[in-house]
């Protein structure tokens, strides 16, 4: 009897849930992704290489991944500030601001793209003031960045917010009573506790931005080598009935995104471990 129990985990159903997890992931994620690589396999290695290293494709990777990383970083900074303000202070209309954060989630991306373009075009609300200063946003790579910041914002706020709510102000008070300056409290108490969540938010915002098509397409201007995003290159190839070429580019996106997300995950694990050692 005792021996039989010794092998058991406290929670029942390990095999069942693991089996279900694997089957579900395969069906929903792995099978479609495998199809991407299979469709590519009709190309020879040379053709594949030529497709994925074409100047237009290369320029689009730089824009898509560069703008996505930058947008996620900007969102990480300002998202953290927003979450802080929403959790730590109470002010009139806080609930409304809180609800506004989620709007980019819910809004159809095309609507977001069209509104942003209308606002930042040279005759738009903001564009008319920026244009005389020589700042062009709509139909430039900056426009792409603006759209990606817009759609990525909720991810950071919503991942940081619950952690911040759980983080008692007592910790900050304790730090202060032990003689830490405000900056030290922030740097050594608050940020370490929030960092894993912040990284998750960053990763989510980044992943969302890499795949974004609907909103960017309206504001980008879509000029080859300048403001063409990688998803547009894929759509363009599909329009030419070039499935293999489209999936070749898609597989590059998949691999790069996977590697970047993996790095972020590893970073998170490392932070969690080293954070544990310190305390």
């Amino acid at each position: 009897m005792a021996g039989a129990y010794a092998n058991r985990k406290v929670l029942p159903g390990f095999k069942l849930t693991l089996g279900f997890t694997v089957a579900y992931l395969s069906l929903i994620v792995l099978v479609p992704l495998t199809a991407v690589f299979l469709k590519t396999s009709v190309l020879t290695a040379d053709q594949f290489w030529a497709q994925i290293t074409a100047p237009r494709a290369m320029a689009s990777y730089r824009l898509t991944f560069g703008a996505s990383l930058l947008a996620a970083a900007i969102n990480a900074v300002f998202g953290l500030m927003l979450a802080w303000a929403l959790v730590r202070y109470s002010f009139p209309g806080r609930k409304i601001v809180d609800a506004l954060i989620d709007l980019p989630f819910a809004l159809p991306t095309a609507v977001a793209g069209i509104s942003l373009t209308a606002i930042y075009a040279k005759n738009g609300w903001l564009g008319q003031f920026l244009e005389p200063l020589g700042i062009k946003i709509a139909f430039t790579p900056v426009g792409v960045l603006v759209a990606l910041i817009f759609i990525g914002l909720p991810f950071v706020v919503r991942t940081v917010q619950p952690i911040l709510e759980d983080l008692d102000t007592e910790y900050e008070e304790a730090a202060a009573s032990l003689g830490a300056s405000r900056w030290e409290t922030l740097r050594r108490v608050v940020i370490p506790a929030l960092f894993p969540a912040l990284l998750t938010g960053f990763a989510l915002a980044f992943a969302r931005a890499v795949g974004e098509y609907g909103s960017v397409i309206f504001i980008a201007g879509n000029m080859p080598l300048i403001s063409e995003i990688t998803p547009l290159i894929i759509i363009t190839k599909l329009e030419q009935y070039d499935y293999a070429g489209a999936t070749a580019i898609a597989s590059v996106m998949l691999v790069v995104s996977f590697v970047l997300l993996l790095v972020i995950n590893l970073l998170q694990a490392w932070v969690a471990r080293s954070g544990g050692k310190e305390s």
Binding site: A54, K122, N123, F139, T236, Q240, Y241, D242
Partner: protein, 351 residues
């Protein structure tokens, strides 16, 4: 172990079996009845079409449905699906059950012949005028009073001018514009190299490449970007309707392209759905005087010469060419101009 309780349940299972038999029998009658009824009259047709034909086919369908009811005594619904022409063709290849396709370039029907034989090889012969019940043509739209005095293609390469064109990579409209410019370059410079320089200079003046024709119209009219918009003639009417008469002017260049709108029956789908007769009647109807009038009303050039002549004031005569005649057909154009790394990519990436 199993056999020991079988006799006890025998009566019960026999009864279930009896029910099952009857149920299956009834179900198959219903099914056969349904199939027969379906075979006699398809209750619906699906017309898979391109982006800006939405309003046109809505008007056409209303009249067709009434005609069909009068002729056969049966009701029919015509469903519409609209989107970028090539993307729509992809959907049909992917299994969208279109009874008829009405596109804005022949390449998007040819691909249906190529991939899976969805459309008969000689689809151009199946209906009059190369199976194109109407055409449109590429025109310039300029701001009121034509402040930059743009008359012809040659004016568009002037330095500092902004020309709005939809992306030829994703839009049939953009491809037609590019090809019209190419043909003008060929005619005036007399060589392919000269034509290439000309389209390169023209596209160097393009500040934004919108995904489709409607997007380009918005950029030009609403965002007030660009000195001239190059698009289909029917967009000019849509513009006037949306933004008021007199804000824009239409300029007809010395050379334009015939943008035919070809139609075809999807053989595999109509055979499966027993809807070929209705599909043929639908496409035939597009050539009737009544439908041709509706087409003219929506600012597409009707194929019927008599009706076109009637509206000559709205459709001035233009010198136009067909992609099939002058440039060797869409397949060749696609291979030499728009495929990755070919002429269009070259002029755009070495600016």
């Amino acid at each position: 172990m199993f056999a020991s309780y079988l006799p006890v349940k025998a009566g019960f299972s026999a009864r279930i079996e009896g029910w099952l038999h009857r149920a299956v029998l009834v179900a198959s009658f219903l099914l056969i009845g349904g199939i027969v009824a379906f075979a006699q009259s398809p209750a619906s047709l699906l017309n898979v079409s391109y982006d800006v034909s939405r309003e046109l086919y809505k008007d056409i369908n209303t009249v067709f449905i009434a005609k069909w009811k009068a002729k056969t005594g049966q009701g029919i619904a015509v469903n519409q699906s609209h989107g970028g022409s090539s993307r729509q063709a992809l959907s049909v290849i992917g299994g969208l059950e279109a009874d008829v396709v009405t596109m804005n370039q022949t390449a998007d029907i040819d691909i249906l012949v190529e991939r899976g034989g969805l459309v008969a090889k000689d689809w151009r012969k199946a209906f009059p005028f190369e199976a194109a019940p109407y055409t449109s043509t590429t025109v310039f739209i300029v701001r009121k009073g034509n402040p930059k005095a743009l008359k012809d293609w040659g004016d568009l390469v002037r330095e500092g001018l902004q020309v709005i064109v939809p992306n030829p990579k994703t839009s049939g409209n953009g491809r037609y514009t590019y090809l019209a410019a190419w043909a003008y370059g060929l005619k005036t410079k007399g060589s392919e190299a000269g034509a290439k320089d000309f389209v390169k200079a023209l596209f160097a003046n393009v500040p934004v490449l919108d995904g489709g024709g409607r997007g380009a119209t918005t950029t030009f009219a609403q965002r007030e970007i660009g000195d001239v918009l190059i698009t289909f003639e029917n967009e000019a009417t849509a513009l006037a309707k949306e933004f008021g008469e007199g804000k824009f002017e239409v300029v007809y260049p010395s050379l334009s392209v015939d943008a035919t709108a070809p139609v075809a029956i999807v053989e595999t789908v109509t055979a499966k759905r027993h809807s070929r007769e209705a599909a043929k009647a639908y496409l035939d109807f597009l050539y009737s005087a009544e439908a041709q009038e509706i087409i003219a009303k929506h600012s597409f050039r009707p194929a019927d010469p008599a009706i076109l002549a009637k509206y000559r004031d709205r459709f001035p005569a233009v010198q136009s060419f067909k992609v099939e005649d002058t440039l060797g057909g869409w397949e060749k154009v696609q291979r030499e101009h728009f495929a990755d790394g070919t002429i269009y990519d070259q002029i755009m990436t070495r600016r």
